[in-house]
């Protein structure tokens, strides 16, 4: 079993009567590019804040590098680079000076600044004041701040937020290259599925504070293949039969649709035919990842 860089156990955060994160069991393996996906307000940022000990959990624990963040905060944070919610920068300072603040705090060598600027392709603009930067450049500076020092884990909260398509592509390519360049595990949160699909190899889907799915992107995609459309006669009896067999059945536009984690299409066919139903159509619907996500989070029906 791969080593876990992040593991949360029953992580819960309540703000008064609002439960922002509920019983979250997140597992991020070493070397993964983990996409933490969820709509705005789903609980991503609160989770990230708990991982960084900016917010205390109401219940549960967050382990980074197998140590509880509450009791080993400094030791853990030495290995973690983070950009929380939006990049922070002091507009009155240059890109170099912004990184110099981090360098001083972390007691790093000056070459670390140049290294980070090089990775995010900001070396040319290092002496320009940040207030003259475009949003994409500011985002890259935020990533550079997270890269300062030998970080083993990078947590990037919505790094493509507010960028134009060109900026999104630029940041996306940068993030994809990070594990290879830095050797770090990367957790990136986003509310944009297509972004996560292009960047991540592992995905966690959070909705209303609950983790609905966690696994590889392939596993998530496979979930979208598990809908079988059936046209059979008599339809109502067929629906009843399939329900009795324990399938999750829906009737739409004169067809029955079965969704489940594991369906053997041949077995469904055999059972129906043996029961005497006239099966005239049996197909596996390939859902798009977007549909899987929306269905999972209750964004669409069916």
């Amino acid at each position: 079993m791969s080593e876990l860089v992040i593991e949360t156990k029953g992580l819960t955060k309540e703000f008064g009567s609002l439960t922002a994160v509920k019983d979250l069991n997140l597992k991020v393996k070493k070397g993964a590019l983990y996409g933490f996906l969820g709509a705005n307000g789903a609980g991503k940022s609160t989770t990230i804040r708990m991982l960084l000990d900016l917010v205390k959990p109401t219940r549960g624990n967050a382990y980074l590098f197998n140590k509880d963040i509450r009791y080993h905060r400094k030791e853990i944070l030495r290995k973690v680079g983070a950009m929380v919610e939006s990049p922070s920068y002091y507009e009155n300072l240059t890109a170099y000076e912004n990184l110099e603040i981090i360098r001083r705090i972390l007691k790093l060598e000056k070459k670390e600044i140049d290294k980070a600027l090089e990775i995010v392709n900001l070396s040319k603009w290092k002496d320009k004041r940040v207030k003259t930067f475009s949003l994409g450049m500011k985002q890259r500076l935020g990533i550079a701040q997270a890269l300062m020092g030998d970080r083993e884990l990078l947590i990037l909260d919505e790094p493509t937020n507010g960028l134009d398509p060109a900026g999104v592509r630029e940041i996306r390519n940068l993030i994809i290259s990070l594990p290879e360049i830095t050797g770090a595990t990367v957790l990136i949160s986003s509310h944009i599925l297509s972004e996560i699909e292009l960047i991540a190899d592992h995905v966690g889907i959070i909705h209303n504070g609950k983790l609905l799915f966690q696994g590889t992107l392939e596993e998530l995609k496979e979930m979208g293949n598990r809908e079988i459309a059936i046209k059979a006669q008599p339809l109502l009896e067929a629906e009843k039969f399939l329900r009795n067999k324990g399938y999750d059945v829906e009737m739409r536009e004169g067809r029955l649709y079965i969704t489940a984690e594991r369906i053997n299409i041949e077995e469904v066919n055999r059972e129906m035919v043996l029961e005497g139903f006239g099966v005239s159509h049996l197909s596996e619907n390939k859902k798009k990842l977007e549909e899987v996500f929306l269905q999972m989070t209750g964004g669409i029906e069916g």
């Binding site: 804040r49 900016l54 944070l77 002091y90 300072l93 603040i101």
Partner: protein, 246 residues
């Protein structure tokens, strides 16, 4: 060492900001106004019955203090606001606290920055007063002790205000509210100073009592500036250490 590194970071954050110019020019401006005041009205003021027996240096401090007791807390309030506003504006606090640093030391570094800038301002004010007296060719010898006492009382007396404003600025997410509260507090300081109890308990009034004069209770800035300064600092440290950065 971590505190020192954080403090250096805080100083760097203020580079090219208005914090330094304000800290340096506020006492020069106030001193310049006092110079003009005494240049024009020295003979008149020395002739007033109320000022009989005062030395020229005492007169200068009296005249200067009427403006400075409002000016100093006001500028310190602005500096405290600016130190926190830069984080509010940049969203930098959450990223600083995501670094392997002690929350208490982050708070302490901010407090220390405001204290250092305030002290620099007070010391410059003392120097400017010396220069004003020399430029006006006072007949008496330079009263170093008087100016030293005046500066020292202020450095101690301002502690309570710094700690309170730092606490408010760190406690309220919108630092502009802290600034507004500070302005109201400073504007009301003269009213607080008229009450024996409030003069001691309200930090905004402490600077009023820093003028070295037998008729003024200099124990207020020394005792209450120091004790309330430490108390508010301690409360701030505990509060900030527990604060959730949402």
């Amino acid at each position: 060492m971590e505190f020192y590194r954080l403090l250096r970071g805080e100083f760097l954050k203020q580079k090219k900001s208005l914090t330094w110019p304000i800290s340096l020019f506020a006492p020069i401006l106030a001193g310049g106004l006092s110079f003009i005041n005494l240049l024009i009205r020295y003979d008149y003021l020395m002739g007033l019955e109320a000022n009989q027996g005062l030395s020229s240096w005492n007169l200068l401090l009296f005249q200067h203090h009427f403006m400075w007791f409002i000016f100093l807390p006001l500028v310190v309030t602005v500096i405290a606001w600016m130190v926190h506003y830069i984080e509010f504006k940049s969203g930098g606090l959450k990223n600083t606290l995501a670094l392997p640093v002690s929350k208490k030391k982050v708070y302490l570094a901010k407090w220390a920055l405001v204290f250092i800038l305030s002290s620099i301002m007070i010391i410059i004010n003392g120097f400017v007063l010396l220069l004003v007296g020399i430029a006006l060719r006072f007949p008496e010898a330079v009263d170093f002790i008087l100016i030293l006492k005046y500066s020292l009382y202020q450095i101690i007396g301002i502690l309570s205000l710094i700690s309170l404003q730092t606490l408010i600025s760190a406690g309220i997410n919108n630092t502009n509210i802290a600034l507004a509260m500070g302005f109201v507090g400073v504007a009301s300081s003269l009213f607080f100073a008229q009450s024996e109890k409030l003069a001691k308990l309200i930090p905004y009034a402490h600077i009023i009592f820093t003028l070295p004069d037998p008729t003024i209770n200099n124990h207020i800035p020394i005792q209450y500036g120091l004790s309330l300064g430490m108390a508010f600092l301690l409360i701030g440290l505990i509060y900030f250490n527990r604060k959730e950065i949402c």
